[in-house]
Amino acid sequence: MSAQAGDQLPELVKHPTTRQLVQYAGASSDFYEIHYDQDFARGTGLPGVILHGLLKTAWLAQLVTDWAGPQARLKTYEVSYRGLDFPDRPYRCRGLVRSVEGGLAELEVWGEDADGNRTTLGTATVELGEEAP
């Protein structure tokens, strides 16, 4: 693929539900109750159940791998959680190419809540593969 600094990644929008949180809890073995038990979540001072940070991380990884294509390989990937996100609200995954050098692309990615707050910030280094410019 031909990537250039400044390119934007095609946006990915997710519509999480409590059902998906339970599904993710089971598939990841993360059974912390703040992700599916409203009373438990409120008992720890949260307004209600929240998304797993690592579920948002999986979506931002999908944003990157969808854009990079089947030849590409993720080398490093880092995220920082800056805000809480809740089910039944859309979650927008966005990103841009910071630099491309020697077949390696440095990306900036982030997730936005329905109000446009960047609640997850991340970076990724992608080896673009054989078709790289």
């Binding site: 001072g45 990884a61 791998t65």
Partner: protein, 141 residues
């Protein structure tokens, strides 16, 4: 200065730096991979042959229950995660993971103090080669 209870708890937590989980060995099952991809909602057919980037956490990075740590605050929050990939993980691979507590420090948040814990997990495949490394930042509040 008189030491407070909070300080001594932090000291006891800091004394656990270097704590290491027992090694855990798991075979990557195709069915588990499928369920994981369904749960994250990523239909990419590549993930039938290879684990998607965050699948490793489903093999063993759940936050260890160190008793001193659980005395601090009311609950956990996730601060961040960093992944370094060396070799793809595929169905049928046997992956061994080990987690170590490498840092513990306190920060003042807007609603009180927070305890930050850094856990490093190494994933090794059946060939004895490193497959990935994950650094998780977990917060007690």
């Amino acid at each position: 200065m008189t030491p407070t209870i909070g300080t001594s708890l932090l000291d006891r937590i800091r004394a656990r730096i270097g704590w290491e989980s027992p090694a855990r060995t798991t075979t990557v099952e195709a069915g588990h991979l499928r369920r994981f991809c369904a749960a994250i909602g990523d239909p990419n057919p590549r993930w039938l042959r290879e684990a998607p980037p965050t699948f490793l956490v489903a093999l063993g990075t759940e936050t260890p229950e160190i008793p001193e740590v659980l005395e601090y605050g009311k609950g956990w929050l996730n601060g961040g995660d960093r992944f370094e990939y060396q070799e793809p993980v595929r169905p049928g691979d046997t992956i061994t993971s080990r987690t170590m507590l490498t840092q513990a420090y306190e920060k003042q948040g807007t609603s009180g103090s927070l305890l930050f814990l850094i856990f490093d997990t190494e994933f090794t495949n059946q060939h004895g080669r490193p497959a990935a490394r994950v650094r998780g930042t977990r917060i007690r509040r």
